[in-house]
Amino acid sequence: MAKTSAEIALLQETDKSPSGFRIVWREIMRDKLALVSLIFLFAIIAAVYGISLFLDQKEIVTVDLFALYEKPSAVHWLGTDYGGRDVFGQLIIGTRNSMSIAFMVTFFTGIIGILVGLFSGYFGGTVDNISMRVVDFFMILPFIMIVIAFVSAVPKYNTLTFSFIMTAFLWMGIARLIRSKTLQEKELDYVQASKTLGSSNLKIMFTQVLPNLSSIIIVTMTLNLAANIGLESGLSFLGFGFPESTPSLGTLVSYARNPQTLEFRWWIWLPASLLILVLMLSINNVGQALKRATDARQRKG
């Protein structure tokens, strides 16, 4: 098949640089679904963080007894809940809160997971053995129940402590992944070479091995972000996430635990549910495209 000159130029260009970024960009441009998802995500993030600047959280969570369960109208775009609070406002603020905590948890779990994985895989032996037994142990803990139990046990409970509790039981997956990749990398000669060239172990781990794990870290953290949105809203749904004064997407969905609301007042819980679904789908789409970009065998082109 004849290639256009532009295509050839593109090929040559990409041959020139291995920098993951360009490959990732090309893969996303090629994958229309991922592209749409990415644009959608940026739009949502911009909208949510932008609009919430103008919204007054206190006003939104204040009970208004004259406007209980109102249907969607011009005043309340998505109606009101059992306390007469504006659902649309709660949706915006809830999305912001859910996203923020998902970002935070993803970041913290990433840091811990990368550190544990790198040290464990690089040094091997006893260090590896002990940390992997710890990981095994955390893996078998029933996550939802342990977190719920902790949430109700912690006395001064706020958004930060909540994200720490989640982090404490979510860092193991990425740690395991980074460990296995580090195990592979450290056998490569460039690591051995660095040792003979006088680089310290810390230097080798962070300046030689870590850059080679960057793409897998980005992919995993993206997929984790989606999962964390799900977990946070799930916990809030059960009533063990954010306090009610800080609405999350899950808080809105949790109103559906009242059968009356579930059956007759869709405007309260359905938009939040769909938003969670679409958010997680789009982040996953981007994550899968990234994954294909990093795994040459799966690339679309």
Partner: protein, 320 residues
């Protein structure tokens, strides 16, 4: 072979031990203790203190732990102050409901996953495969509680095809066929909701396995010597791909545990998950600790079973 099993069991013992300590300390950290529930203006505070002393609540934590764990091993998890009955008895009532829910979910998961995975892998890149891949794509991203909520809204409340709460219709006499049927009918939708989400991993695994195996040399050889397509699949490909799946069921237990909490809450299904949520809300901590411990042990034993089966099925693991 037996070495791996022994080794694996030896790893399990400290895990269970650590879990029990964690659960116990967590219970201690929770506000209030077994007696706070009895607080009552008519009871003399001094009497309560005396009772605390008598129950050993003022002892150092490791002595209390020892007391608690030795009793727990014998099945005595103390009293539920809410229901005024032994925790073990209370859990026993709910255990069967959750167990049935889990079993039906597992069966449905495999019933859905295996045909879908095989179709998708065998006819990969056909429109059928694309449809299945699309489903796994959405199923992978969709959180269970949203999915279950939509299921109960659509099929329970809108179409009235399924009951929306409880585990059995009131008035059914236990032991009759209609009682059994009513139970099954009640857990079908919750189990289906969980299965449709849980099946995703297995479908994807099976699809990848089959596509990978299809191109292996021994399959090409089998084809080349004239084996029929169905023989190639039944004798060579599926034998290789299905065995590991059979072994994964133990790992699924961990996922099921989280799932039942959501699903039981959404379908108001009176199982252990519901009990857990209501106990923690009213701070009935003896029930909570017992449940967390029980779920944790279930997950540990599940992983143990899977590891052992996998090591029997897959000789590569045995060497490790």
């Amino acid at each position: 072979m037996w070495k791996i099993i022994v080794r694996r069991i030896l790893i399990m013992i400290p895990q269970i031990f650590l879990l029990s300590i964690l659960v116990f300390l967590m219970a201690k950290a929770m506000p209030g203790d077994a007696l706070s529930g009895m607080l009552d203006p008519n009871i003399d505070p001094a009497a309560i203190d005396a009772m605390r002393e008598k129950l050993g609540l003022n002892d150092p934590w490791y002595i209390q732990y020892w007391d608690w764990i030795t009793k727990a091993i014998q099945g005595d998890f103390g009293q539920s102050f809410r229901f005024k009955m032994p925790v073990s008895e209370l859990i026993g009532q709910r255990l069967m409901n959750t167990l049935w829910l889990a079993i039906v979910t597992l069966i449905l998961t495999y019933l859905i996953a295996i045909p879908l995975g095989i179709t998708s892998g065998r006819y990969n890149d056909s429109w059928l495969d694309r449809l299945i891949t699309g489903y796994t794509y959405i199923g992978f991203a969709a959180p269970l509680f949203i999915f279950a909520l939509l299921m109960v809204w659509v099929f329970g409340f809108h179409f009235h095809w399924f009951p929306t709460s409880g585990s059995v219709s009131p008035g059914e006499v236990p032991g009759t066929l209609s009682h059994f049927w009513s139970k099954f009918y009640h857990l079908l939708l919750p189990a289906l909701s969980m299965a449709l989400i849980a099946t995703v991993g297995t479908v994807q695994y099976l699809r990848n396995e089959i596509i990978d195996t299809k191109q292996k040399d021994f399959i090409l050889t089998a084809r080349a010597k004239g084996a029929s397509e169905s023989r190639v699949y039944n004798r060579h490909i599926l034998r290789n791909s299905l065995l590991p799946i059979a072994a994964f069921f133990g790992y699924e237990i961990t996922g099921l545990i989280g799932g039942t909490v959501f699903v039981e809450s959404i379908f108001s299904y009176p199982g252990m998950g519901m009990l857990f949520l209501s106990s923690i809300t009213i701070r009935d901590f003896s029930v909570v600790t017992a449940l967390v411990l029980l779920y944790g042990v279930a997950a540990i034993v599940g992983a143990l079973l899977s590891d052992i089966i996998l090591s029997i099925v897959d000789p590569r693991i045995r060497i490790k």
